[in-house]
Subunit: 391 residues, 2 copies
């Protein structure tokens, strides 16, 4: 067969729902020659990664590790370890990824109760209290940052509530970690999973997870084997503990990447990182509003790192996104599921939460909207953003 | 917390059972900025990767893709997709990884028949015919290159034999792919999994798999959902087909890596690559024998890429391996399971199947063996290797 040419991808600015652009220091780290996965020096890097993850998750949980696969593998890891056939789980579904939680939970043989809310909205504490008291589930799962709608679910009080009913709280932090607060211990979260390709500014490839001692006990008390061998924490955790029992070959280069990504988080300061995401979100939001675009999530529940806006009536979704990509090298996200063709999702995550990205996407959107017949006052998006920056 | 320092791993030569050293061109590819996982240009890279994988596996199988996790995830992918509760599988176990196949198969709810053979030996066709005719399993699984023993299982005739009994043949090619022949179509293999960190000279992080049309039919006919959502091929394959249905975010950087690794395979020519592995194995073997080390697998069944040798009586396993690592920066593997403390495993895989590696490990072993009291004639290992190279 003819051999494909040298790798030569076009330059992109990744402002979709993830992956976001990788920080240059992380890219450099990934070109580093390997250590073996049982090399004493590699074990040091593992320990450092674990400690930085704990720090970034605001937790003392010992079982805080990156799972050796992408974010959705973290979702599966949580479900298959926490649930056994016949266990009860309540899944809160107000978007695409809540639906996924329900799907994956169902494959464990657990009894799944789905609590629904309209896409783009968030759940009230009272509704959750109500379902907890009726169902008395082993686990309640919820998405903190619903990637499909841009809605920001408050979860600060949820852990305490769940524990009143002896329920474990499982949180999807795929799109929140590294962008907005995720405080495991203070908020009494029992299990969490995230990814590397959004708030951490790394490529996709790992799923950081963390489990409270309460969740660890539940896993230790299982009567059946975890259905997945690859995601079986009772085995995986032994590789992360003192005896370093071999389970599978770790994705070493991805450890280099997440370690560098976490170093960047700590250097910046995690609170400063949250503040940075808020600042650029406010600027982007002002600009998008000035261009005539409204958010799909309600005011007060809009994620800073994922700006989902309604596509104006009559505007050709694909035409705009293609022009953005082909003429300006900018990727934004289309809608998923119920929101297909109805929203655009503009991410400002990790390394990409910066003014340069805000200006680029507003400038390019202005021209793309004009090209499909929208009336846009020239310069109005960037001007509105700059007003926020100047304030 | 104090921020860990810049990534600065010591330089190693990875001559264990894998990971092996990454080819410099692959390292460079991994520092390339990302494309989005649905970018039209990324889809081109996916197609190219798939075609090169088919070529390297000698197959036309459409369902030939890299699974988004390390090698053991490929093992799980094959088991959970091919097996349903109540199905029958025969697993051939003559080493650590055969045992793993049995363990993972058991978690699917399948009925597992284990065919045992002593570690270091291989299975005869007649024994397999016998068990097939008795059990009539849906699947027979076997390891082509048993990483724990260095034994090379002949599998050329196995597919035909399995098909006489309407059984699917599943092959572990983790340590064989890219080093020795793996010809899926000619040998009628129905399912295979491998890894990236051995024969392909990439970091760990993907598991190439391939399924014959016959295996694909078996998956399509399933009555139950695949227990793993992340590894569910009925969904994963839609992302690799024309409609590009989103399943999970692909590990983009690892796609860059495997694509470059496969380009190197094709540039060299896959037959030339097998020949190269044989040449350096012969040189290494002559050298190891000259140093007084014997292979643990029988003559005629020794893998070129993984040289498992018996640790001489009275020699301190760890002392030798520590000195190799600390004084010479060379990693070799210790024994696993039944072979713990009994063998060393010296890999010459992918990029590392070259004379420079042979000379280094023979030179360093000579000194390390002397340091623990072995009588070794100075220079004898390298001299023996050079005799082979000169022939």
């Amino acid at each position: 067969m003819p051999i494909p040419g040298q790798l030569n991808p076009p330059v992109r600015l990744l402002l979709g729902p993830g992956p976001s652009d990788v920080h240059p220091r992380v890219l450099t780290a990934m070109a580093t020659p390997l250590l073996g996965h049982l090399d004493p020096q590699y074990l040091v890097l593992m320990n450092e990664t674990q400690e930085m993850l704990q720090h970034a998750f605001f937790t003392k949980n010992r079982l805080t590790i990156p799972i050796s696969a992408t974010g959705m593998a973290g979702m599966e890891t949580c479900m298959v370890n926490l649930l056994e056939p016949g266990d009860k789980i309540v899944v809160c579904v107000n978007g695409f990824f809540g639906g996924r939680q329900a799907e994956i939970a169902g494959r464990t043989g657990a009894s799944v109760t789905q609590l629904d809310a309209p896409w783009g909205t968030v759940f009230e504490l009272d509704r959750i209290r109500d379902v907890l008291s009726k169902v008395r589930p082993k686990v309640l799962s919820i998405v903190q940052a619903e990637t499909s709608t841009g809605a920001w679910q408050p979860i600060e009080q949820l852990g305490k509530l769940c524990h009143e009913f002896d329920t474990l709280l499982l949180v999807d932090a795929v799109t929140s970690f590294g962008c907005v607060p995720v405080k495991l211990d203070e908020w009494e979260i029992d299990a969490v999973y995230s990814c590397t390709q959004k708030g951490l500014g790394c490529p996709p490839g790992l799923s950081p997870v963390s489990f409270s001692p309460r969740a660890g006990e539940a896993i230790a008390k299982r009567k059946t084997k975890v259905q997945s061998w690859y995601f079986d924490l009772t085995m995986v955790q032994k590789y992360w503990e003192a005896d370093r029992f071999y389970h599978h070959t770790a994705p070493i280069t991805m450890t280099y990447a997440i370690r560098e990504g976490l170093r960047l988080v700590l250097e910046e300061g995690i609170e400063a990182r949250w503040a940075r995401h808020l600042t650029h979100h406010r600027a982007l939001k002002a600009g998008l509003n000035a261009l005539g675009l409204d958010y799909s999530a309600a005011e007060g529940h809009q994620l800073p790192q994922l700006n989902a806006v309604k596509i104006p009536a009559g505007v050709d979704d694909l035409a705009v996104r293609k022009k953005l990509l082909n003429d300006f090298g900018i990727e934004i996200g289309g809608g998923l599921g119920d929101f297909k063709g109805k929203v655009w999702r503009i991410g400002l995550m990790g390394f990409n939460a910066r003014a340069g990205c805000v200006f680029q996407v507003l400038g390019a959107l202005e021209q793309c909207l004009q090209s499909v017949g929208c009336k846009v006052t020239p310069g109005t998006g960037v001007a509105a953003a700059n007003k926020v920056y100047a304030a």
